[in-house]
Amino acid sequence: MSARLLLRQSRAVAAREMHQLLATPLFWVLSGVFFLAASLVYIGLVSGFSDPAMREENDISSDVTLSVVRQTFWVLHYFLMVQAPMLTMRAIAEERRQGTLSLLQTTCAGEWSIALGKFAANCGALCIFVVLTLAFPLLTAWISDPWWPVVGSCYAALLLAACAYTAVGIFFSSLTESQVVAAVLTYVTLFGLVVVGQLADAFSIANLTQITRHLTPMAHVDGFLEGNVATADVAYFVLFTVVFLFFTVRVLESARWRN
């Protein structure tokens, strides 16, 4: 398949998927609820920072970017982890349930086009939520002087994490007709990676700690949020996304063979 054809088909799938996503109340309810929750966290952090007694000189507690903005983004990252499975659970599962997946495969789109189109649409929907969170650093700039390069790296973390979690969600959605099963499997995978990292730290097993440091997304997000962007962290999220998209394509191919 030529690149141009792939792009055209992917765009068509993405447009259709995005239209369906934005036309459901679920997206708006999720965005509104998580934005409200993030706002409460942000207001709490700002109130805490406004108390001079809570700030130590020469400490991150005296820097608004690392105390308020970074902490807000840390919470937003967890919200993304909760939101992504809910948005992606219907991506391919619904197509299977309605029987439109085989129609899609036979009439207009290859497996990669379907996977990329679904990924782009769901990731784009999450990115809409991420863009809305610009309100937090902008409001912070109104009352303080955040350091914009670090704010930029925080956004890079959110966008890369959104891509990775979307890819995981799309993969599990491709495995089943049940949206609930897809969402549960995605949650188990994502939060399982978090829990394994914390268990390894808690038990202080040297080799396991080193392995889980590479596996868990939290360790890679942390660097971005602190303004210390490493190419390894970028590679992690990119490869994570690519691997799960590849797995999705494999599953779709097997479905085509079966049908």
Partner: protein
């Protein structure tokens, strides 16, 4: 999933159960031996087989599909490991808190002998030490780092000290050297001066000897050692804390009584006279003069409230083209602070203050310093180092003691004053060093144990000593700190923020939902 959920989820579920069991077993054992890793690999293969097998196809097709997927995943894992081993960090913070300083980078690029750094750490701090020292390793392949738990690697700890080693202790040693050397130092990964400590430990090891700084004793000035017991309410005016900081600079600080020597010792890299309260006898003044004539280095920190003239000492200081008029500086606009507690900031491009930024820091009570009228004629190069705000005047100490200080009528008397200055001049022909150096500072209290030693104050003092000891290429490494953020949160602004965020949330929730429902009704 394909077919019934139960039939399709069985195989991956077995794989996940095996993987969870492997992890739990390894955690319980505290290690992952080869057989357990093999079990984990089988679990992963089972999961992959369950996910990617070709339902309805042949076993061969299923195996091929699984193998293809596993191969791709392994390739991705290898690509990540390559990226992780060659990771290039980019520090986006305002003051580069995640990066090593230019001084450390420059030093590591010149490191010419292999050095091993062994740090003993508790397991919960291991990652902090590892992350910090990884920056050193990335810059020099000659530096080997090993982080050990003294309670686990007991034999290793005993090889360094038979009595044992505690977490937070570190050793640097030469590797494969005909004359092996080893240094021991304390290293806290949380310490703001940690980079200073590690870089200078490496420096001290490579150089093989310490610079010796002598604090002149016996003139009623600040003692070097802390008193055995500090009485309640009595300030501890010793310099022991500063001496500890200087020790991290590969400097040994010792006492010198000029009355007991005919000449300044040969190993003196610098002399420090801190807060003298009595004048020098003529003989001691001559010893100092002779030392300076031969290219010596002298740092004088004055006691600002002293009303006695120290003629002989100031005569020696005048040899360097510097003087300090009697008087104490008072700030006419101190804000919420004490008017006699002066805030200063670095100025100019002298090596002592270069790269320290222009951050204002408190110094306490201080007197002014300036060049003598004939400094230029006598080839004394004078450079101001620290200056006050422009709202300061010079007041008689007696008036301050009697609380009779008044703002001068002449507005020209209210201006910025120099509180510290440096001077260099050529030494006598044939001297050990070509140039003599001097730093005169109008306060000594900011270095004592009684005053909180600010980062800026410590860096100023350390960089002065580095410059005075001619270590211009090894300036004190400022701690990697974050400047405090400006913050203005009035009640109006707070409620505006709350209102804006509430409106936005409501717009998303209600507005978005209403819009989609309306579209459905029409569409």
């Amino acid at each position: 999933m394909r077919g019934s959920i139960a039939s399709q989820v069985a195989v991956p579920a077995i794989g996940f159960a095996m993987l969870a069991g492997t992890l739990a077993w390894g955690v319980a054992m505290g290690a992952f031996p080869a057989w357990l890793l093999a079990m984990g690999a089988v679990a992963i293969a089972t999961i992959l087989f369950g996910l990617f097998r070709q339902e309805g196809g042949s076993l061969r097709d299923s195996v091929a599909s699984v193998a293809y997927s596993a191969f791709f995943a392994i390739c991705a894992a290898f690509a990540y490991l390559i990226a992780a081993n060659h990771s290039q960090p980019v520090d986006l913070t305002r003051t580069g808190v995640h990066s090593l300083s230019e001084q450390t980078r420059a030093y590591l690029s010149t490191l010419s002998v292999p050095i091993r750094l062994t740090v003993f750490s508790s397991p919960d701090r291991r990652d902090e030490y590892g992350d910090f020292l990884a920056r050193y390793q990335a810059l020099s392949p000659l530096l080997q780092v090993h982080i050990a738990d003294p309670s686990v690697e007991v034999e290793l700890a005993r090889s360094f000290d038979s009595k044992g080693v505690y977490p937070g202790e570190a050793f640097v040693e030469t590797v494969d050297s005909p004359s092996p050397r080893r240094q021991r130092f304390a290293f806290d990964a949380h310490d703001r001066f940690r980079e200073n400590t590690v870089t200078n430990a490496l420096l001290r090891l490579e150089r093989g000897k310490d610079e010796k700084i002598y604090v002149v004793d016996g003139r009623g000035g600040r003692p070097l050692e802390a008193p055995a017991r500090v009485r309640k309410g009595q300030p501890d005016t010793s310099l022991s804390k500063f001496a500890e900081v200087a020790a991290r600079q590969a400097m040994t600080v010792g006492k010198l009584n000029l009355a007991s020597v005919a000449t300044v010792p040969e190993d003196a890299a610098c002399l420090v006279i801190a807060g003298p309260e009595t004048d020098l006898p003529p003989a001691e003044a001559e010893v100092l003069r002779a030392y300076l004539d031969e290219g010596g280095s002298l740092m004088v920190l004055l006691e600002p409230m002293l009303r006695r003239d120290l003629e002989a000492l100031m005569g020696v200081v005048a040899e360097g083209g510097l003087q300090s008029p009697n008087g104490v500086l008072v700030d006419s606009a101190p804000g919420a602070g004490n008017p006699v507690s002066i805030a200063v900031r670095p100025v100019g491009e002298h090596p002592i203050v270069e790269g320290t930024g222009d951050r204002i820091f408190p110094m306490g009570i201080a007197r002014s310093v300036r060049g003598t009228a004939d400094a230029k004629e006598r080839s004394r190069e004078i450079a101001p180092l620290l200056v006050t705000n422009r709202t300061v005047w010079n007041e008689d100490p007696a008036a301050i003691a009697a609380e009779r200080a008044t703002v001068p009528d002449n507005p020209e008397d209210i201006r910025s004053w120099t509180v510290a200055a440096a001077s260099t001049w050529p030494a006598a022909v044939g001297s050990r060093r070509p140039m003599a150096r001097m730093v005169l500072c109008g306060d000594s209290d900011f270095l004592t144990n009684d005053a909180p030693l600010t980062d800026e104050g410590a860096v100023f003092a350390l960089q002065s000593l580095n410059w005075l000891t001619m270590r211009d290429d090894r300036l004190a490494i400022p701690p990697r700190v974050l400047p405090p953020s400006q913050f203005t949160l009035t009640a109006v602004r707070f409620w505006t923020i709350v209102g804006s965020l509430a409106l936005l949330s409501l717009a998303l929730l209600a507005g978005g939902t209403a819009w989609t429902l309306a579209r459905r009704r029409t569409g």
